[in-house]
Symmetry: C2
Subunit: 116 residues, 2 copies
């Protein structure tokens, strides 16, 4: 059984629970951006966007670097592996309780192949 880091999961899921922050992550997946650009795109004050970026940064989902007067934001080191794993194992549990055995076994085989 995998052991999950509760504080990490807490911070990551909380960071993902806001549509603006999910939007920022999707944006940064396309291209890096400054706080001003993000604030502009999500129709928010600079200060407001800064707070979201801080939340994402603390969750490890974003890193930032300030050069001159511009702070550039990029995707961070966290790749949501633990979170994906938690959700997948939950889905297994769910399936085991509600699906017929065939479906569960198929699912397990599929996962085995994927993980091997």
């Amino acid at each position: 059984m995998v052991q999950y880091s509760q504080p990490n999961l807490d911070a990551a899921f909380a960071a993902l629970s806001d549509a603006t922050r999910r939007g920022v992550l999707e944006q940064l997946g396309q291209a890096e951006a400054s706080i001003t650009e993000l604030a502009d795109r999500f129709q928010m004050t600079l200060t407001g966007m800064k707070k979201h970026v801080v939340v994402l940064e603390q969750a490890g989902l974003v890193t930032t670097e300030k050069i001159g007067r511009v702070r550039t934001c990029r995707l961070g080191a966290r790749r949501l592996e633990e979170e994906a794993a938690w959700i997948e194992s939950y889905r297994q549990l769910w399936a085991a309780r509600f699906d017929d055995l065939d479906t569960v076994l198929e699912d397990m085989k599929r996962r085995e192949k994927t993980n091997g």
Copy 2:
């Protein structure tokens, strides 16, 4: 491109951002339980646990049924499919930005097989 329901994602991720609630889900994956049993197991007042259950219920992750004086909680209809999909597509984005092309392609092939 898949379209995500922001309110659903908001509610589900917020529900998952609390360790107690994740614990309740894991518990209910093993066996259904009453509010009293859950409150007991997670060392919390009945009222406190009730609130968590309401949050999970509103996110669609738990359903409850009151028979006599006991309210029984079970896993709900929501199987975190959208949430898993969001995270997976994020992971793709992430990989595309940071990994070498081989890794990305391998990952895409893997996903194709899994989804087929």
